[in-house]
Symmetry: C2
Subunit: 168 residues, 2 copies
DNA sequence: AGACCACTGGACGGATTGTCCAATGGAAAT
DNA sequence: ATTTCCATTGGACAATCCGTCCAGTGGTCT
Protein backbone atom coordinates (compact mmCIF):
# COMPACT_ATOMS: atom_id res chain seq x y z
CA UNK A 1 0.00 0.00 0.00
CA UNK A 2 2.93 2.38 0.17
CA UNK A 3 5.38 3.46 -2.45
CA UNK A 4 8.58 1.63 -3.25
CA UNK A 5 11.82 2.99 -4.60
CA UNK A 6 10.75 2.93 -8.19
CA UNK A 7 7.59 4.82 -7.34
CA UNK A 8 9.64 7.31 -5.42
CA UNK A 9 12.08 7.84 -8.23
CA UNK A 10 9.25 8.19 -10.71
CA UNK A 11 7.49 10.84 -8.64
CA UNK A 12 10.74 12.63 -8.12
CA UNK A 13 11.46 12.61 -11.84
CA UNK A 14 8.02 13.90 -12.66
CA UNK A 15 8.40 16.63 -10.09
CA UNK A 16 11.74 17.76 -11.45
CA UNK A 17 10.84 17.54 -15.11
CA UNK A 18 7.10 17.47 -15.62
CA UNK A 19 7.61 17.48 -19.35
CA UNK A 20 9.02 13.99 -19.54
CA UNK A 21 6.52 11.57 -20.94
CA UNK A 22 6.09 7.94 -20.06
CA UNK A 23 8.57 6.84 -22.67
CA UNK A 24 11.28 9.23 -21.60
CA UNK A 25 10.66 8.38 -17.97
CA UNK A 26 11.14 4.69 -18.70
CA UNK A 27 14.48 5.46 -20.28
CA UNK A 28 15.60 7.61 -17.36
CA UNK A 29 14.56 5.04 -14.80
CA UNK A 30 15.94 2.12 -16.73
CA UNK A 31 12.75 0.10 -16.87
CA UNK A 32 10.28 -0.88 -19.56
CA UNK A 33 7.71 1.60 -20.70
CA UNK A 34 4.89 -0.67 -19.67
CA UNK A 35 6.23 -0.72 -16.13
CA UNK A 36 6.19 3.04 -15.91
CA UNK A 37 2.68 3.18 -17.26
CA UNK A 38 1.51 0.54 -14.80
CA UNK A 39 3.15 2.38 -11.91
CA UNK A 40 1.68 5.69 -12.95
CA UNK A 41 -1.79 4.22 -13.26
CA UNK A 42 -1.49 2.66 -9.85
CA UNK A 43 -0.17 5.83 -8.24
CA UNK A 44 -3.03 7.80 -9.64
CA UNK A 45 -5.82 5.36 -8.94
CA UNK A 46 -4.53 4.79 -5.42
CA UNK A 47 -4.61 8.53 -4.82
CA UNK A 48 -0.93 9.02 -4.15
CA UNK A 49 -0.80 11.29 -7.16
CA UNK A 50 -3.91 13.43 -7.28
CA UNK A 51 -3.19 14.92 -10.64
CA UNK A 52 -0.96 17.14 -12.67
CA UNK A 53 -2.71 20.45 -12.46
CA UNK A 54 -0.81 23.62 -13.31
CA UNK A 55 0.92 25.30 -10.39
CA UNK A 56 -0.12 28.92 -10.51
CA UNK A 57 1.89 31.59 -8.75
CA UNK A 58 -0.43 34.04 -7.00
CA UNK A 59 2.27 36.70 -7.11
CA UNK A 60 2.38 36.50 -10.90
CA UNK A 61 -1.35 37.02 -10.93
CA UNK A 62 -0.94 40.25 -9.03
CA UNK A 63 -1.32 38.91 -5.50
CA UNK A 64 2.16 39.09 -3.98
CA UNK A 65 1.02 39.35 -0.38
CA UNK A 66 0.32 36.18 1.58
CA UNK A 67 -1.03 35.98 5.09
CA UNK A 68 -2.35 33.45 7.54
CA UNK A 69 -5.40 34.29 9.59
CA UNK A 70 -6.56 32.47 12.68
CA UNK A 71 -10.29 32.81 13.15
CA UNK A 72 -12.26 32.14 16.27
CA UNK A 73 -15.70 30.89 15.39
CA UNK A 74 -18.82 31.11 17.44
CA UNK A 75 -20.23 27.72 18.38
CA UNK A 76 -22.46 26.20 15.76
CA UNK A 77 -21.48 28.67 13.07
CA UNK A 78 -18.84 26.46 11.50
CA UNK A 79 -20.77 25.45 8.43
CA UNK A 80 -21.86 28.99 7.62
CA UNK A 81 -18.39 30.36 8.06
CA UNK A 82 -16.92 27.70 5.78
CA UNK A 83 -19.45 28.46 3.10
CA UNK A 84 -18.71 32.14 3.42
CA UNK A 85 -14.96 31.76 3.20
CA UNK A 86 -15.32 29.42 0.24
CA UNK A 87 -16.81 32.29 -1.73
CA UNK A 88 -13.80 34.53 -1.19
CA UNK A 89 -11.29 33.99 -4.02
CA UNK A 90 -8.43 35.32 -1.92
CA UNK A 91 -8.92 32.49 0.56
CA UNK A 92 -6.60 29.86 -0.87
CA UNK A 93 -7.18 27.26 1.77
CA UNK A 94 -9.02 26.77 5.00
CA UNK A 95 -8.48 24.39 7.88
CA UNK A 96 -10.31 23.75 11.08
CA UNK A 97 -7.80 23.29 13.84
CA UNK A 98 -7.64 22.22 17.43
CA UNK A 99 -8.88 24.88 19.75
CA UNK A 100 -12.19 26.48 20.55
CA UNK A 101 -13.84 26.44 17.14
CA UNK A 102 -10.75 27.85 15.53
CA UNK A 103 -9.93 27.97 11.87
CA UNK A 104 -6.77 28.81 10.00
CA UNK A 105 -6.82 30.18 6.50
CA UNK A 106 -4.29 31.26 3.95
CA UNK A 107 -4.98 34.55 2.24
CA UNK A 108 -3.44 36.49 -0.59
CA UNK A 109 -3.85 40.14 -1.53
CA UNK A 110 -2.65 42.67 -4.09
CA UNK A 111 -0.85 44.71 -1.44
CA UNK A 112 -0.71 45.25 2.27
CA UNK A 113 -3.43 47.82 1.89
CA UNK A 114 -5.49 45.41 -0.14
CA UNK A 115 -5.02 42.81 2.55
CA UNK A 116 -7.12 44.96 4.81
CA UNK A 117 -9.95 44.77 2.31
CA UNK A 118 -9.63 41.00 2.10
CA UNK A 119 -9.58 40.62 5.85
CA UNK A 120 -12.61 42.85 6.19
CA UNK A 121 -14.44 40.68 3.75
CA UNK A 122 -13.34 37.52 5.51
CA UNK A 123 -14.26 38.62 9.01
CA UNK A 124 -17.26 40.63 7.92
CA UNK A 125 -19.52 37.76 8.73
CA UNK A 126 -21.55 36.87 11.73
CA UNK A 127 -20.11 33.87 13.48
CA UNK A 128 -16.54 35.06 13.45
CA UNK A 129 -15.72 36.25 16.90
CA UNK A 130 -12.16 37.27 16.46
CA UNK A 131 -9.34 37.11 13.95
CA UNK A 132 -5.60 37.50 14.17
CA UNK A 133 -3.50 37.84 11.07
CA UNK A 134 0.14 37.10 10.41
CA UNK A 135 1.66 38.43 7.22
CA UNK A 136 4.19 36.27 5.43
CA UNK A 137 7.52 37.99 4.92
CA UNK A 138 9.62 35.22 3.47
CA UNK A 139 9.08 31.67 2.36
CA UNK A 140 12.32 29.81 3.09
CA UNK A 141 10.72 26.47 2.33
CA UNK A 142 8.11 26.62 -0.43
CA UNK A 143 5.48 23.91 -0.36
CA UNK A 144 7.33 20.70 -1.13
CA UNK A 145 6.71 17.01 -1.03
CA UNK A 146 9.75 15.34 -2.52
CA UNK A 147 11.70 14.95 0.72
CA UNK A 148 8.70 13.19 2.22
CA UNK A 149 8.29 10.99 -0.83
CA UNK A 150 11.92 10.00 -0.61
CA UNK A 151 11.54 9.12 3.02
CA UNK A 152 8.38 7.12 2.38
CA UNK A 153 10.07 5.32 -0.50
CA UNK A 154 13.19 4.54 1.43
CA UNK A 155 15.46 6.70 -0.66
CA UNK A 156 18.25 8.45 1.16
CA UNK A 157 17.84 12.19 1.35
CA UNK A 158 19.78 14.23 -1.20
CA UNK A 159 22.97 15.97 -0.04
CA UNK A 160 21.61 19.45 -0.64
CA UNK A 161 22.16 21.37 2.56
CA UNK A 162 25.09 19.32 3.92
CA UNK A 163 28.10 21.62 3.46
CA UNK A 164 31.25 19.63 2.71
CA UNK A 165 32.13 18.65 -0.83
CA UNK A 166 28.92 17.49 -2.42
CA UNK A 167 29.22 16.00 -5.88
CA UNK A 168 32.65 14.70 -6.55
CA UNK B 1 1.36 41.56 -17.39
CA UNK B 2 -1.82 40.01 -16.14
CA UNK B 3 -3.96 37.28 -17.52
CA UNK B 4 -6.92 37.81 -19.81
CA UNK B 5 -10.03 35.73 -20.19
CA UNK B 6 -8.47 33.26 -22.56
CA UNK B 7 -5.56 32.73 -20.22
CA UNK B 8 -7.98 32.23 -17.38
CA UNK B 9 -10.06 29.74 -19.27
CA UNK B 10 -6.96 27.87 -20.34
CA UNK B 11 -5.64 27.61 -16.80
CA UNK B 12 -9.03 26.52 -15.60
CA UNK B 13 -9.24 23.87 -18.27
CA UNK B 14 -5.78 22.57 -17.45
CA UNK B 15 -6.66 22.46 -13.78
CA UNK B 16 -9.86 20.52 -14.37
CA UNK B 17 -8.46 18.12 -16.93
CA UNK B 18 -4.68 18.00 -16.82
CA UNK B 19 -4.69 15.31 -19.47
CA UNK B 20 -5.87 17.54 -22.26
CA UNK B 21 -3.07 18.38 -24.63
CA UNK B 22 -2.54 21.58 -26.53
CA UNK B 23 -4.61 20.35 -29.44
CA UNK B 24 -7.57 19.28 -27.37
CA UNK B 25 -7.41 22.51 -25.39
CA UNK B 26 -7.58 24.55 -28.58
CA UNK B 27 -10.71 22.69 -29.56
CA UNK B 28 -12.32 23.18 -26.19
CA UNK B 29 -11.50 26.87 -26.11
CA UNK B 30 -12.45 27.46 -29.70
CA UNK B 31 -9.15 28.94 -30.82
CA UNK B 32 -6.30 27.85 -33.04
CA UNK B 33 -3.74 25.44 -31.70
CA UNK B 34 -0.96 27.92 -32.26
CA UNK B 35 -2.77 30.40 -30.03
CA UNK B 36 -2.95 27.95 -27.17
CA UNK B 37 0.70 27.08 -27.56
CA UNK B 38 1.67 30.74 -27.58
CA UNK B 39 -0.43 31.41 -24.49
CA UNK B 40 0.99 28.44 -22.67
CA UNK B 41 4.53 29.45 -23.49
CA UNK B 42 3.87 32.96 -22.27
CA UNK B 43 2.17 31.82 -19.09
CA UNK B 44 5.09 29.58 -18.26
CA UNK B 45 7.89 31.95 -19.17
CA UNK B 46 6.18 34.78 -17.32
CA UNK B 47 5.97 32.60 -14.26
CA UNK B 48 2.21 32.55 -13.90
CA UNK B 49 2.36 28.80 -14.35
CA UNK B 50 5.33 27.39 -12.50
CA UNK B 51 4.95 23.92 -13.84
CA UNK B 52 2.89 20.81 -13.92
CA UNK B 53 4.41 18.77 -11.17
CA UNK B 54 2.48 15.84 -9.73
CA UNK B 55 0.28 16.66 -6.77
CA UNK B 56 1.12 14.12 -4.11
CA UNK B 57 -1.23 13.40 -1.24
CA UNK B 58 0.70 13.08 2.02
CA UNK B 59 -2.11 10.99 3.48
CA UNK B 60 -1.71 8.43 0.72
CA UNK B 61 1.97 8.24 1.58
CA UNK B 62 1.13 7.34 5.13
CA UNK B 63 1.12 10.81 6.65
CA UNK B 64 -2.54 11.57 7.34
CA UNK B 65 -1.92 14.05 10.15
CA UNK B 66 -1.30 17.69 9.31
CA UNK B 67 -0.42 20.44 11.74
CA UNK B 68 0.72 24.02 11.78
CA UNK B 69 3.41 25.09 14.19
CA UNK B 70 4.27 28.63 15.14
CA UNK B 71 7.86 28.96 16.20
CA UNK B 72 9.45 31.76 18.10
CA UNK B 73 13.04 32.19 17.06
CA UNK B 74 15.85 33.69 19.02
CA UNK B 75 17.30 36.80 17.41
CA UNK B 76 19.94 36.09 14.82
CA UNK B 77 19.19 32.39 14.63
CA UNK B 78 16.90 32.67 11.63
CA UNK B 79 19.26 31.25 9.04
CA UNK B 80 20.26 28.30 11.17
CA UNK B 81 16.68 27.45 12.01
CA UNK B 82 15.69 27.58 8.36
CA UNK B 83 18.51 25.28 7.39
CA UNK B 84 17.52 22.92 10.15
CA UNK B 85 13.85 22.81 9.23
CA UNK B 86 14.73 22.33 5.58
CA UNK B 87 16.32 19.01 6.49
CA UNK B 88 13.15 17.66 8.07
CA UNK B 89 11.06 15.85 5.44
CA UNK B 90 7.88 16.27 7.45
CA UNK B 91 8.19 20.06 7.19
CA UNK B 92 6.22 20.71 4.01
CA UNK B 93 6.58 24.46 4.03
CA UNK B 94 8.01 27.22 6.14
CA UNK B 95 7.24 30.91 6.32
CA UNK B 96 8.67 33.75 8.29
CA UNK B 97 5.84 35.89 9.52
CA UNK B 98 5.31 39.22 11.19
CA UNK B 99 6.11 39.12 14.84
CA UNK B 100 9.22 38.79 16.93
CA UNK B 101 11.22 36.38 14.82
CA UNK B 102 8.30 34.13 14.31
CA UNK B 103 7.94 31.37 11.80
CA UNK B 104 5.02 29.27 10.72
CA UNK B 105 5.45 25.81 9.31
CA UNK B 106 3.23 23.07 8.01
CA UNK B 107 3.95 19.60 9.29
CA UNK B 108 2.68 16.14 8.55
CA UNK B 109 3.01 12.96 10.57
CA UNK B 110 2.03 9.29 10.48
CA UNK B 111 -0.22 9.67 13.52
CA UNK B 112 -0.88 11.95 16.42
CA UNK B 113 1.71 10.05 18.37
CA UNK B 114 4.17 10.39 15.52
CA UNK B 115 3.48 14.09 15.44
CA UNK B 116 5.16 14.34 18.80
CA UNK B 117 8.29 12.85 17.32
CA UNK B 118 8.21 15.29 14.43
CA UNK B 119 7.69 18.26 16.72
CA UNK B 120 10.51 17.13 18.94
CA UNK B 121 12.78 16.96 15.98
CA UNK B 122 11.64 20.36 14.76
CA UNK B 123 12.03 22.17 18.05
CA UNK B 124 15.01 20.17 19.14
CA UNK B 125 17.31 22.85 17.93
CA UNK B 126 18.99 25.75 19.62
CA UNK B 127 17.50 29.00 18.46
CA UNK B 128 13.91 27.95 18.83
CA UNK B 129 12.58 29.56 21.95
CA UNK B 130 9.03 28.34 21.88
CA UNK B 131 6.58 26.48 19.69
CA UNK B 132 2.83 26.18 19.63
CA UNK B 133 1.14 23.59 17.47
CA UNK B 134 -2.33 23.40 16.03
CA UNK B 135 -3.49 20.10 14.61
CA UNK B 136 -5.64 20.20 11.50
CA UNK B 137 -8.97 18.46 11.96
CA UNK B 138 -10.72 19.24 8.71
CA UNK B 139 -9.83 20.92 5.48
CA UNK B 140 -13.03 22.56 4.23
CA UNK B 141 -11.16 24.42 1.51
CA UNK B 142 -8.22 22.48 0.07
CA UNK B 143 -5.47 24.55 -1.48
CA UNK B 144 -7.03 26.13 -4.54
CA UNK B 145 -6.20 28.79 -7.05
CA UNK B 146 -8.93 28.71 -9.68
CA UNK B 147 -11.24 31.21 -8.00
CA UNK B 148 -8.37 33.67 -7.83
CA UNK B 149 -7.45 33.04 -11.44
CA UNK B 150 -11.03 33.70 -12.47
CA UNK B 151 -11.07 36.93 -10.56
CA UNK B 152 -7.74 38.04 -12.02
CA UNK B 153 -8.93 37.13 -15.50
CA UNK B 154 -12.21 38.92 -15.17
CA UNK B 155 -14.30 35.79 -15.33
CA UNK B 156 -17.41 35.77 -13.19
CA UNK B 157 -17.24 33.33 -10.34
CA UNK B 158 -19.00 30.00 -10.90
CA UNK B 159 -22.52 29.70 -9.44
CA UNK B 160 -21.55 26.99 -7.00
CA UNK B 161 -23.13 27.99 -3.73
CA UNK B 162 -24.86 31.30 -4.43
CA UNK B 163 -27.71 30.52 -6.83
CA UNK B 164 -29.22 33.98 -7.10
CA UNK B 165 -27.85 37.40 -6.22
CA UNK B 166 -24.19 37.37 -5.26
CA UNK B 167 -23.44 38.70 -1.84
CA UNK B 168 -26.28 40.89 -0.90
C1' DA C 1 -0.88 55.16 -43.97
C1' DG C 2 2.39 52.27 -42.13
C1' DA C 3 4.15 49.34 -38.56
C1' DC C 4 3.26 46.08 -35.25
C1' DC C 5 1.22 42.14 -33.07
C1' DA C 6 -1.89 38.36 -32.14
C1' DC C 7 -4.64 35.01 -34.24
C1' DT C 8 -5.86 31.82 -37.93
C1' DG C 9 -5.63 27.69 -40.73
C1' DG C 10 -2.70 24.72 -42.73
C1' DA C 11 1.30 21.95 -43.48
C1' DC C 12 5.46 18.72 -42.27
C1' DG C 13 8.13 14.90 -40.11
C1' DG C 14 9.27 12.97 -35.79
C1' DA C 15 7.84 11.34 -31.61
C1' DT C 16 4.69 9.61 -28.17
C1' DT C 17 0.59 7.46 -26.69
C1' DG C 18 -2.79 3.71 -25.56
C1' DT C 19 -3.27 -0.87 -26.15
C1' DC C 20 -2.46 -5.31 -27.20
C1' DC C 21 0.70 -9.73 -26.86
C1' DA C 22 3.87 -13.78 -25.36
C1' DA C 23 7.84 -14.81 -22.66
C1' DT C 24 10.59 -14.31 -18.48
C1' DG C 25 11.57 -13.99 -13.62
C1' DG C 26 10.82 -14.32 -8.77
C1' DA C 27 7.99 -15.11 -4.75
C1' DA C 28 4.39 -17.08 -2.28
C1' DA C 29 1.36 -20.88 -1.62
C1' DT C 30 0.36 -25.83 -1.87
C1' DA D 1 9.53 -29.51 -5.23
C1' DT D 2 5.89 -28.03 -8.00
C1' DT D 3 2.37 -24.98 -9.10
C1' DT D 4 0.29 -20.45 -9.16
C1' DC D 5 0.32 -15.68 -9.28
C1' DC D 6 1.98 -11.33 -10.59
C1' DA D 7 5.19 -7.78 -12.05
C1' DT D 8 8.25 -6.91 -15.62
C1' DT D 9 10.08 -7.19 -20.15
C1' DG D 10 10.53 -6.36 -25.11
C1' DG D 11 8.04 -5.94 -28.99
C1' DA D 12 4.36 -4.66 -32.06
C1' DC D 13 0.40 -1.70 -34.01
C1' DA D 14 -2.41 2.28 -35.53
C1' DA D 15 -3.73 6.75 -33.98
C1' DT D 16 -2.57 10.84 -32.20
C1' DC D 17 -0.04 14.63 -30.79
C1' DC D 18 3.96 17.64 -30.65
C1' DG D 19 7.23 21.31 -32.16
C1' DT D 20 7.86 24.12 -35.76
C1' DC D 21 7.50 26.29 -39.75
C1' DC D 22 4.48 29.39 -43.12
C1' DA D 23 1.39 33.11 -45.34
C1' DG D 24 -2.85 35.59 -44.77
C1' DT D 25 -5.98 38.41 -41.88
C1' DG D 26 -7.66 41.66 -38.57
C1' DG D 27 -7.14 45.08 -35.09
C1' DT D 28 -4.43 48.66 -32.75
C1' DC D 29 -0.96 52.16 -31.92
C1' DT D 30 2.09 55.79 -33.78
Amino acid sequence: MGVDRLDGRLIQLLAEEPRVGVLEASRRLGVARGTVQARLDRLQSSGVIRGFGPEVDPAALGYPVTAFATLEIKQGQGQDVRAHLATVPEVLELHTITGHGDMLCRLVARSNADLQRVIDRVVGFAGIVRASTAIVMENPVPLRIIPLVRQAAGISQPPEAPPAGDDR
